[in-house]
Symmetry: C2
Subunit: 182 residues, 2 copies
DNA sequence: ACATCTCCATACGTTTACGTATAGTTGAGT
DNA sequence: ACTCAACTATACGTAAACGTATGGAGATGT
């Protein structure tokens, strides 16, 4: 019996592999095996591997931009929103999300289209978060710089393994939150 | 005429490729081509590809640990040293260094030995930098947390493309430096 | 019942990369 | 000049992965 898969299921599985092994880990036959089919179906949905990657990139771009808009809509409680965002992105339940984020950025280092997507997303995120910081009585430039530091922390933190720390990660993150949002 | 290469030259070239294309970009025949020889010589110096990678990892580990010790030796001018470190790592002339750093971290996500090396290096770095912060009248825990934030910034900043910023990168980095070291 | 659309299986050709085997070349010491 | 160690060239076998071609199975509408 044949299992029919949608284009979307291929993309979803590809994101799973992206998180686990990076772009270079995305192999068509590998995906097919995970989905319990052969690669015949893949070439029905996509022209080739490149085609899949471009669709992933586009989905990532719009998804991330949509998400940040939703997450920063409430400008009346800027400080709380910022703290919430930090908790969200530094949480250990977000490992998969962080992995995808890093994998896409790694991809961007050797692919101009990925770099473009990352740039667009970062631009949007910096804008959204800086306008939150602007609610905390900061000058526009300071707010923007603080947003930059905010995101550097978010990304950088995901590169630092908790096991490298001599202090409880929880304590460290509380400190960083207080330090960044105040 | 034959060009004789040392083991070290192969490793050096491999680091160049690592910076440009990540671990998966390191191909033996590719290296040989860049070095203007064939792969015959590679297998004289290394048992196999894995062997090369392990040697690279080891060189990276000891090199990075040595470097951070040198860079943080002067504890009498902690604030200046910290500012200097930020300038060093956020400088646009350090793109290659950042690329290697990120590539190794990416590698660590799917290789336990790489993860081990990264962990050891991070541990050392956090210790060194936190003892600098401790000179600035911070409690041990606060100093350690600040060191964590410091490195998160360093790493995170290397993930954010300058082109994504609406403000001059120079200004932003000045702000971050003041904010982190004070 | 039949046609059609959607998706999958299979077989094939090609490229790329790994690793091995073996012969050859070069330079330094004697 | 001879030898040996250090290194390289070349040729080969194998595996993984891409992409193509073609046939077929299942569901759906008429």
């Amino acid at each position: 019996m044949n299992i029919k898969l949608s284009r979307h299921q291929w993309i979803t599985e590809a994101f799973a592999v992206l998180a686990e092994a990076g772009v270079d880990g995305i192999k068509i036959e590998g995906l097919a095996k995970r989905l319990r089919v052969t690669k015949g179906g893949f070439y029905w949905h996509f022209r080739n591997r490149e085609d899949l990657l471009l669709h992933m990139l586009e989905q990532w771009r719009v998804g991330r931009i949509e998400t940040i808009h939703e997450q920063t809509r409430d400008e009346d409680h800027a400080a709380d929103t910022l703290k919430y965002l930090i908790r969200l992105y530094t949480d250990s339940t977000n490992l998969r999300g962080n992995a995808i984020e890093l994998a896409v950025r790694d991809w961007a280092r050797s692919d101009s289209r990925a770099a473009e997507a990352v740039e667009a997303v970062d631009r949007e995120r910096l804008d959204c978060v800086s306008s939150l910081f602007a609610q905390l009585d900061l000058s526009p430039d300071d707010a923007y710089s603080r947003a930059y530091l905010f995101y550097s922390f978010i990304f950088g933190q995901s590169l630092l393994n908790d096991d490298s720390c001599r202090l409880e990660p929880k304590k460290i993150k509380q400190f960083c939150t207080r330090f960044l949002v105040s």
